[in-house]
């Protein structure tokens, strides 16, 4: 019975593992292979981070937060524009000081946004169908996209973290030519990983974290013993907002703050489908799998495909995650680590 259920999952895992090993077997140089792998992991940590915000909201309030991507864009816009405007407004030196203050203000804005969303969207809809809540977050998405343009503008803006764009060479002694790693990606990955660890500690070690876990475990029980659900919701949305700000900052620094950031951040969706909607480790590992998978596919699968069928090429990175998520939905709807929903009798 169990074997029958796991069969497709194992098959999919085997295909993925084979895909992961294939480039080596077909003769790609190890150094280059590792370069792609590390690049994928570093991109993946950011997906993990955004997915974490998503999972938090889903666990604590049962809301499928479609607006996660829009929050990333909105936060990045706030950061970029405030950093630009603040020197003129209050005479703070441009560059790092202005950026720091802008970060603090943008964080405040995301917390305020969490409060507003809890007040005017979640609280009135709390007893409604989950579909109503999903629609509400769709509404929040469009509102944030539009409102963001209204106040922050709709051009491409820069965030300058003062990190050089040049790649660095590591492990030169081990591989011919060494492994090229983008310093920017590396720092982004370190920031994201650090935040993931901090969040995990926050959940395990603090009173508020404990209350969050309690609410995630059983809303009704938590409410019956007097844990204030509304406050918990504001907190998870604020945490998700902060996570969005950090992701928006590093992505924005790399790619420029523009509309496509929202789309990029929406990759949190396939990540949580892969990892399971309710699993924090699932979000982290799912992000890494998608990050590595799409880089590998882009670099090693793209060119042969293009040659074979004479395609225009490119773009695998844009759809790979979604196809993988679809396959996962078919073989294991609850995701890698998600719990199967068992109704109480």
């Amino acid at each position: 019975m169990a074997a029958k259920k796991n069969g497709p999952v194992i098959a999919l895992g085997a295909v993925l593992a084979a895909g992961l090993a294939a480039p080596l077997v077909t003769g790609s140089p190890l150094g280059f292979y590792l370069e792609v792998l590390i690049g994928g992991l570093m991109a993946g940590v950011l997906y993990s981070l955004v997915a974490l915000g998503f999972v938090l909201i889903f666990k604590a309030s049962g809301v499928f937060n479609f607006a996660q991507g829009a929050m990333v864009l909105f936060a990045a816009l706030a950061l970029a524009r405030l950093a630009e405007w603040l020197p003129a407004w209050i005479g703070i030196p441009a560059g790092f000081p202005a950026l720091t203050l802008a970060f603090v203000l943008a964080a405040g804005i995301m917390v305020g946004l969490a409060w507003v969303i809890e007040r005017i969207v979640l609280r009135p809809l709390v007893a409604q169908d989950p579909v109503a809540l999903l629609m509400a977050t769709l509404g929040v998405t469009f509102f944030l996209d539009g409102f963001g343009q209204t106040i922050w503008g709709s051009d491409i803006y820069k965030i300058d973290l003062g990190i050089s764009k040049d790649p660095t060479m590591i492990l030169e002694s081990m591989f011919q030519g060494g492994i090229l790693v983008s310093k920017e990606d590396l720092i982004a990955a370190v920031i994201a990983a650090g935040l993931v660890i901090l969040l995990a500690l926050f959940f395990q070690k603090t009173a508020t974290g404990r209350a969050l876990r309690a609410v995630a475990d059983d809303h009704q029980a938590a409410q019956s013993i007097g844990i204030p659900l509304n406050r918990i919701w504001v907190i998870v949305w604020a945490v998700a907002g902060f996570v969005a700000l950090v992701a928006g900052m590093v992505w924005g620094a790399k790619l420029g703050v523009q509309f496509s950031l929202a789309q990029l951040a929406l990759k949190a969706l396939p990540v949580v489908i892969l990892g399971g909607f309710t699993s924090i480790p699932g979000a982290i590992i799912g992000g890494l799998i998608i990050g590595v998978g799409e880089k590998m596919a882009e670099v090693f699968l793209g060119p042969p495909l293009v040659k074979m069928w004479d395609l225009a090429g490119g773009g695998i990175e844009n759809w790979f995650a979604y196809v993988l998520a679809l396959l996962f939905l078919m073989v294991r709807p609850e995701g890698l680590f998600g719990e199967k929903h068992i109704d109480r009798v």
Partner: protein, 261 residues
Amino acid sequence: MRQRKIGEVILDVRNISLSFGGVKALQGISFDVREHEVRAIIGPNGAGKSSMLNCINGVYHPQEGEIVFRGEVRRDMDTHHAAESGIGRTFQNLALFKGMSVLDNIMTGRNLRMKTGILAQALHLGPARAEELREREFVEHVIDFLEIQAYRKTPVGRLPYGLQKRVDLGRALAAQPQVLLLDEPMAGMNLEEKQDMCRFVLDINDEFGTTIVLIEHDMGVVMDISDRVVVLDYGKKIGDGTPDEVRNDPEVIKAYLGVSH
């Protein structure tokens, strides 16, 4: 000996009515609870006992009536306010956090008394850490008291039912409530477990002076440990008094005739 400690009315339930659509779960119920006493609520299945507790701690909102707790009149209570003002609660259908450890479950009960801000907690500042340690100490006390040290780190969902009931009690105790509402704390237990639970309830009442409102089907237990008993039937109060008075009340006897417990 306990009789001497019993004090003023601490909780006064006045004319509470609650209905769900057509079902009248409670109809004009009034009774009071005195400080330090053990007050039992009994009645056949569906009588409205759990609903009564749910009104007292704000899970349900009665359509009529009011509840006076320590002189404060409340029409509509929310669960957070109830817990904060000193009303603790255990549940007939366990409402534990199954994926969390025994220690964490009981700590959630203590959360209400923790006051450092979220930012201080997030940054792991001294005051937040000190508070966590201090409150943790009290919780370890509760764990010792209930004799569940061996399971501190075990996820609650993996414990047998009787122990889960004890964890539920521990979580309520951790908040150091003035009034403790216990909804069938001994249901589904074997004799030995029941005796343990009785001992805990009496010890809590004796040692901490906690006022106890208890729903229980086991008449032996009720007669043994309670000071006064309220009897409900079909949402109405049909008896109220000492165990002896209630036991000999013809109306109560009628309600229980043919109902086996």
